[in-house]
Symmetry: C2
Subunit: 165 residues, 2 copies
Amino acid sequence: MNKAQFIEALAARLGSDKKTATTSLDAVLDEIYAVVVKGEKLTLTGFGAFEKRDRAARIARNPATGASVRVKKTSVPAFRAGAEFKAITSGAKKIAKVPAKKAAPAAKASAAKAPAAKAPVAKAPAKRVSARSVAAKPAPAAKARAAKAPAKKAPVKRAPAKRAG
Amino acid sequence: MNKAQFIEALAARLGSDKKTATTSLDAVLDEIYAVVVKGEKLTLTGFGAFEKRDRAARIARNPATGASVRVKKTSVPAFRAGAEFKAITSGAKKIAKVPAKKAAPAAKASAAKAPAAKAPVAKAPAKRVSARSVAAKPAPAAKARAAKAPAKKAPVKRAPAKRAG
DNA sequence: GACACGTGAACAAGGCTCAGTTCATCGAGG
DNA sequence: CCTCGATGAACTGAGCCTTGTTCACGTGTC
C-alpha cells in the first residue's frame, strides 16, 4: 500500500475527504520528523517509539565491489514497535475493525471494551500468574533478586550511551 | 515526548482542538495497524515503510539467567525509515518549520519550494552527476553492467520471500 | 501530465537489536 | 483520580539489518 491508498483508507476511517486525510497524515508525519530531529524520543504507547540513534564512524563495505568505504559518524531514525503493535502483528491480539467514522466511536467503544479486551487479557495474566507463583515459591527467588541489585550498581559502559536518548 | 504532548503539538500544527488531533493520530495509527496486520507493506514515500516480518522459530536466551528458551515462529512489525527521514535526521536536509495551521499552508508552500528544496537538491545531484560521469567513462563500467544483468536473472531464494510482502 | 526523486534488488561483512524475566515507574484511558 | 498495562533497564549470544552503488520502475507533487 502506498501513500495515496493509505489516504483513502484514512479518509474512510475519519469520515472525511481525502484532502483532510492528507493534511492529517502529513501533520502526523511532519511532527514525528520534528520530534526526532530535535533528538527527542517520541513514545506512542502501544504503537512504538521513534527516536534518533547515533552511529559511530566505521568502515563499511560496498557489497557489490567489496570495496571498503569510510562512513562518517551520523544519526539515523529508528522505530521500535510497542507491545500492542507486536501483539496484533503476531496475532496474539486482535484489532477492532473500524469502517467509517460514524460507526467508529460506537463500534470502537463497545468492541474495545467487551470482546477484544477481555479475551487477550484473560490469556496474558494467566501466564504471568503462573510465572509469579513459581517465582514466589522457592528460595532461589530471593537469591536471584539479591544478585540483581548489585548488578545494577555496577558501571556499565553501555548504559550512558542509551540514557542520552 | 509522550502521546499527550504529541497531540498538543499536532493540534497546533493542524490548528485544531486536541480532540480532533487525537482522532487524527489514532486513525493514522489504527490504519497502520490494519495494513500491517493484513500482511501488507505500507510505504509512505520519504518517511518510511511499515511491514510485517516473519521470524522463524529459534532457541533464544534469557540473558539474565542464561537459560535457553524456545521461541516459536512469529511475526513482528518492522519499520524502515525512508530517504527523507534519514536525510533530515542526519542533518543533510532541513525540515520546514510549521508553527500553526493558519501559517502552515502559506509557509509550507513557500518554504518547501524556495529555500529548503533548492539547497539540498543542489547538493544531491552534484554527487550523482559525478558518479555517473565516472561510471560512464571507463570500459569496466560496461563489464559491471554485463555481470549485473545475469545476476538478476539468477534464481534468488530470498527474492520470493520478500515479494510476498 | 511531467518531472524529480524514492524505492527495491543484489552483493559481503560488521554492527546492532532483541529474546525472557523482574521490578519500579510512568502513561493512558475511563 | 484510579487502575491497569506499557516501558525501560540489566543480563548474553544469535540472528537480522545496514552500509554503497547502479539501474529501472513507480510514486508523489506541482
